[in-house]
């Protein structure tokens, strides 16, 4: 639900990082925060537990500057990945314009990726949204670890129709982080025109 204000000439869009717990969603946002020029980023808000697990969400506003007279902003959110925080996940999806699904490549997290993907579709439906109409980018994270599922297999379970762009990443090192962000931003911008 992009907000376009023709009087103040502002466009705000909401991008949500979704995926299983401990998959690297917050790591993505934190890396973006550390690397962006202070002039284009706002304050990073993390509503997390004492153990640094996301409790409600992380939030980072990114300012693209003035494009054709419109101040263009992306609001990046993460959801809490842990299964029992579903009520929070559902709330964060309200008004979403684009989704990054961060999958955990580790073999032992195989099922969690599938469950989280299904959960995402259910929660979108709760907002009367269908995945087919929302820009989505997949990120296969933790590619540096030894015990990982192949990209082909991840594609099979999360992107069987090969409809969505995907990126391999190592979010802790920033590999693939900005490529993913740029792609989802571009897809969201296309929906505005």
């Amino acid at each position: 639900m992009a907000l376009i204000n023709y009087a103040s000439r502002e466009i705000n869009s909401k991008i949500v990082y979704y995926g299983p717990g401990l998959g690297g969603k917050t790591t993505n946002i934190k890396y973006i925060y550390t690397k962006l020029n202070p002039s284009i980023k706002g304050k990073l808000i993390s509503l997390a537990t004492e153990l640094d697990r996301t409790l409600f969400f992380d939030f980072l506003p990114v300012d693209l500057g003035t494009i054709r007279g419109f101040k263009t902003r992306f609001h990046l959110y993460t959801v809490p990945g842990q299964v029992f925080y579903n009520a929070s996940r559902k709330l964060i999806l309200k008004g979403v314009d684009g989704i990054v699904f961060v999958a955990d490549s580790q073999i032992e997290r195989y099922d969690e990726n599938i469950l989280s993907n299904e959960n995402m579709k259910e929660n979108l439906e709760a907002h009367n949204l269908v995945l087919e109409k929302i820009p989505l980018v997949l990120q296969y994270n933790k590619r540096d670890l030894p015990n990982i599922t192949s990209v082909e297999e991840l594609q099979k379970i999360l992107n069987s129709s090969n409809k969505y762009a995907f990126f391999e990443s190592v979010a802790t090192q920033g590999i693939g982080v900005f490529e993913t962000l740029k792609e989802i931003c571009k897809l969201v911008l296309k929906t505005l025109a």
């Binding site: 907000l3 009087a7 705000n12 263009t72 609001h75």
Partner: protein
């Protein structure tokens, strides 16, 4: 495209006018209008010391979480929220089921006055937003965002995030 909220000049000025009258009528410090997805629509009053983006996001999250609490105890919603601080207070209410009005005020006014005046403003804003929503549903809103905007924005993304 997902369901969007487009606000045009005349609606925006009508909204700002209503908020300014509320600000003056209550002697509140700051008033913000936020959509339920957490995006700031506009604000009036003193915003110099306030991170309005963060405030908008957290207010929407607060309201959403509280609405879920309401449903857990069998209420359809809590239509207003009040947070009391030592110096500053926050009064929040929902308008037209989609927009959140947040009033920040201190000891220069009272909760009672804010509540009464905000109720009047809420009714006025409800009319304005009902018009906006029906306009968005009925008419094909002329696209001011065209492919040249998309191209320019993509170029800017490449410049900021690398090619």
């Amino acid at each position: 495209m997902t369901e969007g909220l487009n606000i045009f000049e005349e609606d925006f000025w009508a909204i700002t006018d209503a908020l300014n009258r509320l600000l003056q009528g209550t002697n509140a410090r700051t008033i913000l209008l936020i959509d339920k997805a957490g995006q700031l629509i506009t604000s009036v009053g003193d915003t110099a010391r306030l991170d309005t983006s963060s405030f908008a996001t957290l207010s929407a999250a607060d309201f959403a979480a509280t609405s879920q609490l309401a449903s857990l105890i069998g209420e359809s919603k809590f239509s207003t929220l009040f947070h009391q601080g030592e110096r500053e207070n926050l009064y929040v209410c929902l308008i037209a089921d989609r927009v959140i009005l947040a009033v920040i005020f201190d000891q220069r006014t009272t909760l009672g006055l804010v509540r009464v005046k905000a109720k009047n403003t809420a009714a006025e804003l409800e009319r304005i937003f009902s018009d906006i929503f029906s306009k968005l549903q009925k008419e094909t809103v002329a696209k001011h965002i065209d492919t040249s905007f998309t191209k320019a924005a993509e170029d800017e993304l490449d410049r900021l995030f690398g090619p």
